[in-house]
């Protein structure tokens, strides 16, 4: 039986395969997902910037060979702190509400932590309850409110996760 896009997909949890960005062949999958769901017009160079320089920070989620979610990130020095940044996070509608986004983000953040990041940051619309809850559970706080950040006049929160200082080696 065909699964219509509006219906929730029937899946077992272990059936979702998480894969680190593996090369050019993943790029069109990521681009299609993001173009579908987000309103910003990104050129291919934007995607290349992220996945070429920080391939280890981008992840894809597959279900039975189909790409259903992705996270795209970067990290670098920013005003004397080494900081990770979550640029794009998408899960297609039928697969939402199952923790796929949380798993994608968690993998990326873990990689950032292991790479020596002191904190992670991103922006989210103040109306995006789902994203705020997701990141809140992971330890992000709402560090700032950005007035009329988006073109439609919606404000944004700058979310920040501060890692605890590295434990002393005993």
């Amino acid at each position: 039986m065909e699964v219509k896009p509006e219906e929730k997909a029937e899946i077992e949890e272990p059936e979702i395969e998480y894969v680190s960005y593996g090369g050019e062949h993943h790029l069109p999958l990521i681009m299609n997902l993001v173009d579908q769901e987000l309103s910003e017009p990104y050129s291919i160079f934007t995607y290349r910037y992220f996945v070429y320089l920080w391939p280890q920070l981008s992840f894809l989620a597959f279900h039975k060979g189909k790409c259903v979610g992705t996270v795209v990130c970067k990290m670098g020095e920013h005003r004397n702190t080494f900081r990770g940044y979550i640029a794009m996070l998408v899960v297609i509608k039928p697969y939402r509400g199952r923790g796929i986004a949380t798993e994608l983000v968690t993998r990326s953040i873990r990689m950032m932590m292991e790479s020596g990041c002191e904190e992670v940051t991103l922006e989210a619309e103040v109306t995006n309850k789902g994203a705020l809850a997701l990141y809140g559970r992971l330890g992000f706080i709402r560090a700032k409110r950005l007035f009329h950040y988006y073109l439609n006049g919606v404000d944004a929160f700058r979310l920040k996760l501060l890692f605890p200082p590295p434990r002393q080696v005993l």
Binding site: E24, L27, P41, S43, F45, T46, R48, Y49, Y52, L53, T106, I109, M113, V126, L132, G136, R137, L138, G139, I141, R142, A143, K144, R145, L146, F147, H148, Y149, L151, N152, G153, D155, F157, K160, L161, L162, F163, P164
Partner: protein, 707 residues
């Protein structure tokens, strides 16, 4: 960019170009680059990028895709230029040869311009809103059409006035699109006469209205006057619809002019014009029924989304013509407010301006701060806030009238005589004056920006305190001097040092409270926030109380002895109402902290650790700016943990916090009978957001349910 003159004459097209192409000149020649581009496409594989010294992947992100309308602002959508648009009849004059349609279309243009103006105020660029009007871009050609011409002139003059106010306030915050006017014809010769031109048109239409009424009552026509338009059944309706629109613009322009007058001299007049504006806006709304029904053809689509009262699309607008003149980022299509929403916006703006105009210019800083905080609660927009800021700070003085040292002198409860003391020339006191001035400016900005600035500001206030203290110690050490002037100086230092501390804690309090208004705290963080509030309030209350004691001394020393000395003594021993009010806050903050801590400690579901960090990191992040400025001293995450680890429902003291708060509030209520803002009912809502009113009583019920 900041120094670039805001007003520039339009020089969009040097010469009218050929319709279909850009001509070559003496020094330029066209060359076909297609073969080159073709070869380049074949020369690189997918995923390859040319590495250049100044071209890396980061730079590549800013690449534009040519011919993509979302990115390529040079792309021609309808017309290449304004002249081409005009040549193709995009903005005809007259709009229609049928005078009835011409009038209706003119009204549509007026309505759409109002909607554009509101969209501009709300944060879009002038080029994509008001100046998407072709008539406005070439105002001179509207001269044969008196109605359109006068309306466009006053719109232009109004926009220029508003840009001026917002530019002068210089706190564009994140709204820097607002003052971008590059290449737009904002300066017009003779715009200073726009009011008299408008009055002439208004006068004509008034006579036309009188004439059509006289005709209908079969009285003799007073003069040989041409009617507004040819359909006598619609004459009255159209005249009225036009008159209220013209009068609204006239009064609105007057509001701006009056409010611009220095030292608030025009505020009372402004209020009268504001009232007239509101009346005319009501008439404008009422005209919608007539405008919708006067033609047989009905318009498609939802009437509420339309940018005109009639529901018809306005003639003469093209937002893409200015694409090279609008903000540097690629132009995105923006949504102009609906006409209804635009009217609502102006009603709100006028109400906000009215509040400003009603302000009594109180020389007491404390009252002023309360007024500004209260004003901000209605979330006024940029234009209103800019007007407030310009009223408060002009020529480096409060209200353009009171030097800031005099203001500080009064706020610090120093005698009137010291306000002219030479000590104000001291560097530290000059800087303190600047800090107060900047504080007022910051308090007029939008809440999100304001909180960030206040947080950073704390450091400046701490520094000035240390500087003043150092200067004080250097001058006077610990020895009390004998000379009169030295005594006065010492007193000035002592009062002002105390006042600076009080002010610093007030800023810290505002910083924390704004976090609730901006929804920056998630519910799991409320406990630590209320705890920190409690710590700040303790210090604020202490300083306020000291300040009041010192001010009482000053009053006594001035010889203001009351006749009834026993009453005087009683008043002395009573805690001042302002301090009681703060004590009430302390009880609430402490109570809420303990209650939330108890919930966390006793009910596991309220305590959910995150995988990547702990509460400690959140504490550090939320209070970083306060901690850095040591506000207050000796406050840290360990001390927070210590205070809250042992909180349990069984602790009876918890009941007392809220009972105490109630008791104090009742006592305070009578003292502020002439100041309803301080009434009991506002207390809970100010501190707790959605927790406010119900929680203290609710949790008592809740905890007994748990037993």
């Amino acid at each position: 960019m900041a120094d670039k003159p805001v007003y520039e004459e339009a020089s969009i097209d040097g010469q009218p170009p050929k319709l279909a192409s850009i001509p070559a000149s003496d020094t330029t020649v066209w060359a076909d680059a297609s073969p080159l581009l073709q070869a380049a496409c074949a020369g690189l594989r997918d995923g390859e990028l040319i590495h250049g010294d100044n071209f890396n992947l980061f730079a590549a992100m800013s690449a534009l895709e040519i011919m993509d309308p979302k990115m390529d602002s040079g792309i021609v959508c309808t017309y290449y230029s304004i002249d081409e648009a005009i040549e193709n009849g995009a903005a005809p004059i007259p709009i229609s040869l049928d005078s009835t349609i011409d009038v209706r279309c003119t009204i549509d243009i007026m309505d759409h311009l109002l909607a554009c103006e509101a969209a501009w105020h709300k944060g879009h660029s002038l080029a994509q809103t008001v100046f998407s009007c072709i008539y406005l871009l070439r105002l001179d050609r509207t001269a044969p059409h008196a109605l359109l011409h006068s309306y466009c002139r006053i719109i232009r003059a109004t926009c220029k006035a508003v840009v001026s106010v917002v530019s002068d306030a210089r706190t564009h915050e994140e709204e820097d699109l607002f003052t971008m006017t590059y290449g737009l014809p904002l300066n017009g010769d003779g715009d200073d006469k726009c009011l008299s031109i408008l009055n002439a048109v208004e006068e004509t239409i008034s006579r036309q209205l009188r004439a059509c009424k006289a005709t209908s009552s079969k009285r003799r026509l007073p003069e040989d006057l041409e009617p507004l338009q040819s359909n006598s059944n619609l004459e009255e309706g159209f005249c009225k619809a036009l008159l209220c629109r013209l009068r609204f613009r006239k009064h609105f322009f007057h509001v701006l002019s009056c409010m611009k007058r220095p030292q608030g001299r025009g505020l009372e007049s402004a209020r009268k014009h504001i009232a007239s504006c509101l009346t005319e806006l009501e008439s404008i709304l009422e005209s919608a029924d007539f405008l919708r029904s006067c033609f047989d053809e009905s318009c498609e689509g939802d009437i509420d989304d339309k940018t005109t009262a009639s529901g018809f699309e306005p003639i003469g607008f093209d937002a893409m013509l200015n694409s090279r003149l609008s903000a540097p980022t690629p132009p995105r299509a923006i949504k102009i407010l609906s006409w209804k929403k635009a009217v609502e916006y102006f009603v709100k703006l006028l109400h906000d301006l009215d509040v400003i105009c009603s302000y009594s210019l109180d020389p007491h800083l404390e009252s002023l701060l309360r007024f500004v905080v209260q004003f901000q609660k209605s979330q006024p927009d940029l234009v209103a806030r800019s007007h407030l800021q310009l009223l408060l700070v002009q020529d480096g003085k409060l209200y353009g009238r009171d030097p800031f040292f005099a203001v500080i002198n009064k706020a610090a409860a120093l005698p009137e005589a010291t306000k002219n003391h030479d000590i104000q020339k001291n560097e530290s006191f000059l800087q303190l004056g600047m800090l107060v001035m900047n504080l007022l400016k910051i308090l007029c900005t939008n809440a999100a920006w304001q909180r960030r600035k206040l947080g950073k500001f704390l450091q400046d206030w701490r520094v000035i305190y240390v500087q003043l203290e150092l200067a004080f110690r250097n001058e006077y050490g610990e020895v009390s001097s004998s000379s009169n002037d030295e005594n006065t100086c010492m007193k000035i230092f002592q009062h002002i040092l105390l006042w600076v501390e009080e002010q610093t804690y007030w800023i810290a309090f505002r910083f924390l409270i704004l976090g609730f208004e901006l929804e920056l705290y998630s519910t799991g963080e409320y406990c630590m926030v209320y705890w920190y509030l409690y710590a700040v309030l303790i210090k604020l209350t202490e300083k306020t109380h000291l300040m009041m004691a010192v001010s009482h001394d000053t009053a006594k020393r001035k010889g203001k002895k009351k006749k009834d000395s026993s009453k005087d003594l009683a008043r002395e021993s009573r805690i001042p109402p302002a301090v009681l009010f703060l004590q009430c806050y302390i009880c609430l903050a402490e109570g809420l902290t303990m209650m939330l801590a108890a919930l966390r400690n006793e009910i596991p579901v309220f305590h959910s650790p995150s995988p990547f960090n702990t509460e400690h990191e959140k504490f550090v992040q939320h209070f970083e700016l306060l901690q850095r400025a040591c506000i207050p001293d000796h406050v840290s995450y360990p001390s927070y943990k210590e205070s809250t680890t042992h909180a349990r429902f069984s602790t009876l003291a918890m009941y007392n916090y809220f009972k105490d708060a109630q008791r104090i509030a009742k006592e305070v209520k009578s003292s502020f009978s002439n100041d309803p803002e301080r009434a009991f009912s506002t207390l809970f809502s100010r501190l707790g957001g959605r927790w406010g009113r119900n929680v203290p009583f609710g949790w008592i019920h809740f905890s007994s349910y748990l037993k």
